[in-house]
């Protein structure tokens, strides 16, 4: 879909579906690579998107992932239905995790996802309503 020179791609992510976890992030990475996004920013986008996608798979019920591509800027948003995050400041601390033993066995639960998203995005915004869901927006500048 194209709106005012902005290319928009949407994906739906299902919670607890580990067989497809990461598929949307890899597709986004492939399509951004094809339009010539430089490798360094491409890797930052891929890592932040993947960490956010894994959080949806691990903690939420479902989410819409939206990728907006314009010449100067890429905006990725995750809008999920799920438990929400009670204390966002705490969730952003490296090492903080509520991952279950089951999740840890799969190699997650280091409490590094959100801090890493924050470091990779040029700007980042998170808001959440407990019992409803979480909204995460990250922006990546293509011009410096």
């Amino acid at each position: 879909m194209i709106e005012n020179d902005v290319l928009i791609q949407e994906y739906s992510i299902k919670g607890w579906d580990f067989s497809r976890a990461g598929e949307a992030s890899c597709e986004i990475k492939d399509s951004l690579k094809q339009i010539g996004i430089p490798q360094d920013v491409l890797r930052r986008i891929a890592i932040a998107t993947y960490e956010a996608e894994m959080n949806v798979v691990m903690y939420a019920k479902s989410a819409t992932l939206r990728c907006e591509i314009s010449p100067e800027l890429i905006i990725i948003t995750f809008d999920d239905k799920g438990p929400g995050i009670e204390n966002i400041e705490l969730a952003l601390k490296p090492g903080y995790s509520t991952a279950t033993p089951e999740i840890r066995e799969m190699g997650f639960g280091a409490g590094m996802g959100l801090p890493n998203i924050k470091q990779n995005a040029d700007s980042f915004n998170i808001s959440s309503v407990v019992g409803k869901g979480t909204k995460l927006e990250m922006r990546f500048n293509l011009t410096h």
């Binding site: 890899c26 490798q39 890797r43 890592i47 960490e51 639960g109 590094m112 801090p115 470091q119």
Partner: protein, 125 residues
């Protein structure tokens, strides 16, 4: 160091037959936590891990890693190996434990991602 030298050093078995092993390995990251690998990434890193699920392969794709060595003789299911083959991602398995495998590669001059770890924490302060 190339992937082929990694294979020889670790007496590793190549699981993804016919993938290109001439590629250069820039550094190595030994971890069973994929979020750590993703936080301390640098391009063409070799991942040493005991974690054999699909998320390991996704991590290679997402972080532009060069390949995976499964330690302690771990082997992913065939389905995972085929998934990696489709993407031409090299997978090997070695009977060395994580500590010995890392030590052997380090002794041959392959360094870790300590600088990335330091940078991560510095940026996070």
């Amino acid at each position: 160091m190339t992937l082929l030298e990694v294979q020889k050093t670790l007496q590793a078995e190549l699981l993804t037959l016919n993938v290109d092993l001439s590629r250069d390995v820039s550094s190595a990251c030994a971890s069973d936590l994929m979020s750590d690998v993703l936080a301390f990434h640098s391009p063409n890193t070799l991942i040493l891990t005991g974690l054999t699920n699909q998320q390991t392969i996704r991590t290679v794709e997402i972080a532009d890693a060069v390949g995976v060595v499964f330690v302690r003789g771990k082997r992913p299911e065939n389905e995972i190996i085929e998934f990696a083959l489709k993407k031409q991602i090299p997978l090997m398995t070695t009977n060395y434990c994580m500590y010995d495998a890392s030590g052997l590669l380090y002794a041959k001059g392959l360094s870790g991602v300590t600088e990335q770890v330091r940078n991560f924490h510095k940026r996070n302060d």
